[in-house]
Subunit: 333 residues, 2 copies
């Protein structure tokens, strides 16, 4: 059979059954895949946190760069990252796919395997969704649900003047990886960061449970854009120390060859899926101890100010001139 032929033979309902048999309903799932709705039993006393992300071929991913297994892992990871940013424990998700006729059943199988690999890793259960034909490219829409106690969820609002600004891991790698892919490279640490991000679920939940962050977001649009969202919602300003922004060895060794200002990639490059959060200076030790115990690097990159706006201070103490601020769909490039 040709590519796509097997999917025609299987049909929509065959595909749904093929996915459903791979899923073991988790606790709390009263009714999973296969009815008009899924039915879940919320945990008494907890809030339900929900997030939706759409990934569009030609906009969010390029099938020349992504294999289906990795794409599946990333599709769920970006939603898990949003749950992590609120401190929510992942519980359930729905997956909607618009599938172009050119895609093979093998591609779909591998994609689903990737989705379910991350689902099993982070204990989130597929409970439903939709599959349909696409007249253009592949479109993936996931809605993820998590739970957390009302007093423990962490919002974008809540940063206080004097709070320190923390970030996990390193920044700019995913943007660098995309640059390298566009330049023809296919393997490497930065490319992995772009194609296969690991959401900071363990870190986000642990920080929330310990009630350490005053505000938190995941770095998906870029450091400056995402910090901007915290400042906007918290009605405060910030001062960032450029020299304190954590950069990986891969980043430091690769960026000189690219030319231009590598700081722009670290400040405005999106899709790092690190956690960016604020906490009072007297909780600094607790933050560092908690993340060290998990084994995740954390850096203090600045502080919250009463002055509105976002100032970036260069290593020599001068004001750094910011050019690009982050990713904005519909914006002119």
């Amino acid at each position: 059979m040709n590519e796509g032929e097997q999917l025609l033979e299987l049909g929509e309902f065959g595909l749904i059954k093929r996915i459903a048999v791979q899923v073991k309903n988790a606790s709390g799932v009263i009714l999973g895949i296969g009815d008009d709705c899924a039915a879940i039993e919320p945990t008494p006393g907890l809030l339900t946190l929900t997030t939706a992300d759409m990934l569009v071929e030609g906009v969010h991913f390029d099938l020349a760069f992504s294999d289906p297994l990795t794409l599946g892992r990333k599709a769920l990871a970006v939603n898990l990252s949003d749950l992590a940013a609120m401190g929510a424990n992942p519980r359930h998700f729905l997956l909607a796919l618009a599938i172009p006729p050119s895609l093979s059943l093998e591609f779909i199988d591998r994609f689903i395997a990737g989705v379910l690999e991350r689902a099993n890793q982070f204990k989130i259960c597929l409970i439903g969704g939709d599959t349909c034909a696409s007249s253009a490219g592949l479109v993936i829409a996931i809605t993820a649900m998590g739970e957390q106690a009302p007093a423990k969820i962490v919002q974008r609002a809540g940063a206080m003047v004097g709070d320190l600004i923390f970030v996990t891991g390193t920044l700019g790698d995913a943007a660098l990886g995309l640059e390298l892919l566009r330049g023809g490279e296919r393997v490497g640490e930065a490319i992995d960061r772009h194609l296969d991000p690991i959401p900071r679920v363990v870190e986000g939940v642990a920080l929330a449970e310990a009630k350490l962050p005053t505000a938190m977001i995941d770095v998906s649009d870029g450091l400056l854009a995402d910090l901007g969202h915290i400042l906007d919602r918290s009605k405060v300003g910030a001062r960032l120390q450029l020299a304190a922004i954590p950069l990986s060895a891969a980043f430091l060794s690769s960026t000189p060859a690219l030319g231009g200002d590598p700081n722009a990639l670290a400040l405005a490059g999106g899709e790092d899926y690190e956690l960016l959060f604020t906490a009072p200076p007297d909780r600094k030790g607790d933050v560092v101890a908690l993340l060290t115990k998990i084994g995740t690097p954390v850096s203090i990159i600045g502080e919250i100010t009463a002055d509105p706006g976002l100032a970036v201070i260069a290593a020599d103490g001068s004001d750094y001139q910011v050019t690009a601020h982050g990713y904005n769909h519909f914006a002119r490039r």
Copy 2:
């Protein structure tokens, strides 16, 4: 400015704010649009019912036929119909949009107005979602959530041998409407049924609250396909009386001119969004009384049998030969 230019000016975050200001958070919404996740407080003792539907330009809708207001109403209606089919009270929904550069801001405004019109009508609150660029057509992905008591939700499984098969309203109109649109017509009752379905939310919830249906589904893929889903999950068969299938005056007057077998449209045409359900013969009076009180026509179109399979009986008592069974994405046309 050109079409699409205003959306570029506004940007992704401007568009989200433009939508958010039109939404008043309902009770139970702790945190609505504007954070990494929405936070909702489930009603103690109730299950959460969730459903996801994706609408793809060129597959589910044609912008030559749909105005944006009507398309917005339909996008939410098809999700509300799934909640209705389980007997769930609508509560919250997330909306993800992939928007092609050709669409104007006015189009998006009208589309959102349509979504929110149906949302307000059926008391479901927009709590979040995603907006991004599309490299091809418009893609709409909605996840809707409702609530119901565990003992009252109605599944596809549950139909018992001897149960009567009921359907609300009339069938085949939406499929007829699509045929008429393709033939060049632009107005009329059947076309309205295709472009602007009204979900049977009131009916589905009332039936579930009264614990009348043993199994229920909405007619989205076509009567035979959707009844097939009930039979499959309930492990029973059915006998349908062709002469009992409710047809509208518009259907009866328009179909002769189309040629072919009009029964095929009523049996296999999708998107009627009527409720198809089963109930024991001794609850027939209660079903009719309840739906008559609401003002919704209901018909008894057959019965559940121990013999597996789905038999359709013609008016003269002979077996009717079924040709098309319903809509199946990826299937050969």
